[in-house]
């Protein structure tokens, strides 16, 4: 069980000054190392003594991992850039406002000042059975306590649940998927660039992780291509309280129009599954159609196909349907 202690377990604190040093330390420490970005997820684990790494590699001193840089092909954001800096950066605000809106919706101003974009997309699940240290599937056990007849699962998954029903809590992840971002990973085999969608892992593939990061891997930056710069964006997050809360559901879309018709679209949702979901079926269904309430209605219906509610989260199905509808039609046009 989780027991809140006054102090964290002892660990070796390593503070590299460069990305190269960080990689060396990761290699040297192996699976015993824990990467510390903003610390907002990490310190929960450490203070609850649910994780006891031998070494903590604090990336806060690695300047290469910070900042937003314009590139010939778009923009590159260091993984250690704070959410506040992402949300306030002029280039992000002007060209990729979708990400600014998503970053601004995270938690509270204090948390955004400390939390990083790399940490936000890499954070662990918030299922309280898992966070409490119960031996559930995600913790290496053989049961999902949330998916039982009396499990508390109001915040849990309605799609792609397989044994574990925890959801990914990131707000920036669906925005990055909608923007077709690429994640740059530093691995033992060198640098690897993958699409945002592929960064996330569901329980069908690996029930103990939310991302493809393995011990020793490091997310160093996020590249957003210019493809969707200046498109029509929509981000909406539904939560129990309007600040300092994880999403019950969020949606992000990027749309370009030709006249009133949807020429290109990418749309993603999060907090409905263990990984943020790009809604490819919705994209196919609405491409070439007018951007209006009827198309939004149809898109919402398509989006929730296959959704399976748990005991206490049936509300997420109409919620997702309506958010997708609004993302397609635009909030004002939706009835």
């Amino acid at each position: 069980m989780a027991v809140i202690h006054d102090v964290m377990p002892a660990f070796l604190l390593l503070q590299p000054g460069s990305l190269a040093d960080a990689r060396k330390l990761l290699e040297r420490q192996g699976p015993d190392a824990w990467i510390l970005a903003g610390g907002l997820d990490s310190f929960d684990w450490l203070k609850d003594r649910m994780r006891k790494p031998k070494a903590l590699i604090d990336l806060s001193g690695v300047q290469e991992l910070k900042g937003v840089r314009s590139t010939p092909d778009g923009v590159e954001i260091g993984a250690m850039t704070t959410l506040t800096d992402v949300a306030n950066h002029p280039l992000i605000q002007q060209q990729y406002h979708l990400l600014a809106a998503a970053a601004e919706a995270v938690a509270s101003p204090q948390i955004r000042n400390q939390g990083t974009i790399g940490g936000n997309v890499s954070q662990d699940a918030r299922c309280w059975y898992y966070r409490a240290g119960w031996p559930c599937y995600r913790a290496g056990g053989n049961i999902c306590y949330a998916d039982t007849p009396d499990g508390r699962n109001r915040e849990h998954a309605i799609l792609h649940a397989q044994r574990c029903v925890a959801v990914n809590p990131s707000d920036t992840a669906p925005a990055l998927i909608a923007l077709d971002a690429k994640f740059v990973l530093q691995t033992a085999n060198g640098e690897r660039v993958i699409s945002a969608e592929d960064y996330f892992v569901g329980p069908d593939i690996d029930i103990t992780r939310l991302t493809i990061l393995r011990p020793g891997d490091l997310l160093s930056s996020i590249r957003i291509p210019a493809t969707w710069a200046g498109a029509q964006f929509y981000f909406e997050k539904i939560r129990d309280r309007q600040v300092w809360d994880f999403p019950l559901l969020n949606v992000a879309s990027a749309i370009t129009l030709s006249g009133d018709r949807i020429e290109r679209i990418r749309i993603a949702v999060n907090a409905v599954a263990a990984r943020p979901l790009r809604l490819a079926s919705v994209e196919r269904a609405v491409t070439g159609k007018s951007r209006n309430a009827a198309t939004g209605e149809m898109a919402g219906t398509v989006a929730v196909q296959g959704a399976v509610p748990l005991q206490f989260n049936g509300y997420k199905i109409p919620l997702m349907r309506n958010l997708v509808k609004r993302a397609i039609a635009g909030r004002q046009e939706a009835p």
Binding site: M1, G133, W134, P135, A139, G140, G141, N142, I143, C144, Y145, D147, T148, P149, A161, Q162, R163, V201, D204, I205, D206, V308
Partner: protein
């Protein structure tokens, strides 16, 4: 190295959750070590097989050129079971050694196929096949003792030829029954914990401890099957065993191989083949 993994359940009890996954490597290495030792023994040390007893010329004449060994239904069962077993092993253990894919659905579907085929096999073998042919009999045990004593250089008569199945075959079948029924029985209950088309999920069907031991038994039998399957495939491709393997494909064995390794008195190849020795036996007893 731990054999099991334990956890603390919500009530504070220590419960087993599953086997230590290192046992996968242990099973694999053990099986490979066995086959290396066996292959080396056969290659460098083993003498030619020797048998006691002969077959009367009229019995030999009565045996057809191609001796039926496995019916089409039995062969279909074997290969269906093999396919489902391999699917089960790959879907169960590849993800544990780093090959990631959506394995759960494939696993329970393959498990369902295996369970259904085994139920069919039990019924088929009980009512349509010679049920006792695959179980060791007294002769098998006595011959095994003879072979063992000869292995250690003692002067004892050579063993008799096999019945339909060699003792090793029967032993393997017994081991597969034990491991197979264990994974099937536990696997059926474990399907209550995932979403399938068969049962309503009920993770509270048993206590955490009972579930834990069920997962442990499933895992132990599973890693046991890794070793068994490797050994089975090894023997299946060994040159001296190929006639047996071919019979599982084509359904028959050659008369020469049957007469060399199998005793028509113990395996009813034809009506004549079995009647004659029994008559001789009766006459011997009478005298």
């Amino acid at each position: 190295m731990n054999v099991l993994q334990w956890a603390i359940d919500p009530r504070g009890h220590s419960v087993p959750i599953h086997i230590a996954w290192d046992l996968i490597q242990v099973a694999f290495v053990s099986a490979v070590a066995f086959l290396i030792v066996h292959a080396a023994y056969i290659r460098f040390f083993a003498g030619e097989k020797q048998w006691s007893g002969t077959t009367a010329p009229d019995v030999v004449a009565a045996i057809p050129e191609r001796v039926p060994r496995h019916t089409l239904v039995a062969r279909a069962f074997h290969w269906l079971m093999a396919a489902s077993m391999l699917t089960l092993l790959f879907t169960a253990f590849l993800p544990k050694v780093g090959v990631e894919f959506d394995w759960v659905t494939l696993h329970w579907i393959a498990g369902t196929v295996l369970a259904a085929s085994v139920v069919f096999h039990i019924i088929h073998a009980s009512f349509w096949l010679d049920f006792w042919a695959i179980w060791p009999d007294q002769t098998d045990i006595l011959d095994a003792i003879r072979r063992l004593r000869r292995f250690f250089g003692q002067a004892v008569p050579a063993p008799r030829r096999f019945a339909k199945y060699p003792l090793e075959n029967k032993g393997f079948h017994g081991a597969v029954i034990a491991a197979g029924l264990s994974v099937i029985a536990t696997g059926v209950f474990m399907m209550f914990r995932v979403r399938t088309i068969f049962f309503t999920r009920n993770p509270y069907l048993f206590t955490d401890v009972t579930w834990g031991w069920m997962y442990v038994l499933h895992g132990l039998a599973g890693v046991g099957l890794i070793a068994l399957v490797i050994i089975h495939v090894y023997f299946g491709v060994r040159p001296e065993k190929r006639p047996i393997t071919k019979s599982m494909i084509f359904g028959w064995m050659s008369r020469d191989f049957v007469l060399k390794e199998h005793d028509p008195a113990r395996w009813t190849v034809t009506a004549a083949a079995v009647r004659r020795p029994r008559e001789e036996e009766a006459l011997r007893d009478a005298s």
